[in-house]
């Protein structure tokens, strides 16, 4: 009996879109106001979808307390109220929400109690990004 469980988490962080490959003028041209040298910030929402068999005893795909604790340690504590550009994972990558989605997918892929289907990251209420690993189309079933 396979079911899909989705949980949403929230954190607030600053960032700046900037690539050292480009000069300042090119950064401004490509990234627009997101390239403001002083940075800017967002309230991010992360929606994690996990799948697995519903345990016939507990009725759960996985224990939510365990998932929340994992998310607290590995997602919230790491990203909340941080400047994304200062984190190791963005040392050599632009802190776009595409790259953030891939990073967060890598984080929840290490959660062992259920299978990670995809992550959906909302940067604003109008911009959201999905990553389900290279092999899958996130637009598929869900």
């Amino acid at each position: 009996m396979k079911a899909y469980l989705s949980r949403r988490y929230h954190f607030s962080a600053s960032h700046r879109l900037y690539s050292e490959t480009y000069d300042d003028a090119q950064n401004r041209e490509i990234f627009g106001k997101c390239s403001n040298p002083h940075g800017h910030g967002h309230n991010y929402t992360v929606q994690v979808t996990l799948s697995g068999k519903v345990d016939p005893v507990t009725g759960m795909v996985c224990n939510l307390g365990e998932l929340d604790s994992f998310a607290r340690t590995n997602l919230i504590d790491r990203f909340d109220h941080m400047n994304l550009n200062t984190l190791d994972c963005f040392a050599n990558r632009v802190s776009t929400t595409e790259n953030l989605s891939i990073e967060i997918h890598g984080i929840f892929a290490r959660f062992r109690s259920a299978h990670l289907e995809r992550v959906h990251v909302e940067e604003t209420s109008n911009n959201s990004f999905d990553y389900a690993g290279d092999a899958k189309s996130p637009a598929g079933r869900l």
Partner: protein, 137 residues
Amino acid sequence: MIFLTRKAEFSSAHYYWIDSWSEEENRRVFGKCANRNGHGHNYTLEVTVAGEVDPVSGFVVDLKQLKDILEREVVSVYDHRHLNLEVPEFRTSVPTTENIAVAIWKRLDGKIPNAKLHRVRVYEMPDLFADFYGEQT
């Protein structure tokens, strides 16, 4: 093939508890959800059906009919009820969001004329939901 989704809402009480476990074990696994006095949620149900658009009516299913089916099969049974104590399927299974999605699928499967049940999504709260697509091979 077109997918049509209809929402319905119900407010219910529940708790998570397994009789064959000790109180300590229930509290360890289910945390505050194991409070035997129960607690409650405003649930949102999204039922997605798949079918072909009727060339004359332009409908996949008659929405009024679908609304009535959700009301009869689910809302009238679950709304303002205690799921553990008053809904038969949860006498033997824990009313987790996952099990509620599975139970609603069983209540609706085969009862929607001219369309196939595609997905049952149950929100326990805006930040937590479960999806069930029926038994998958």
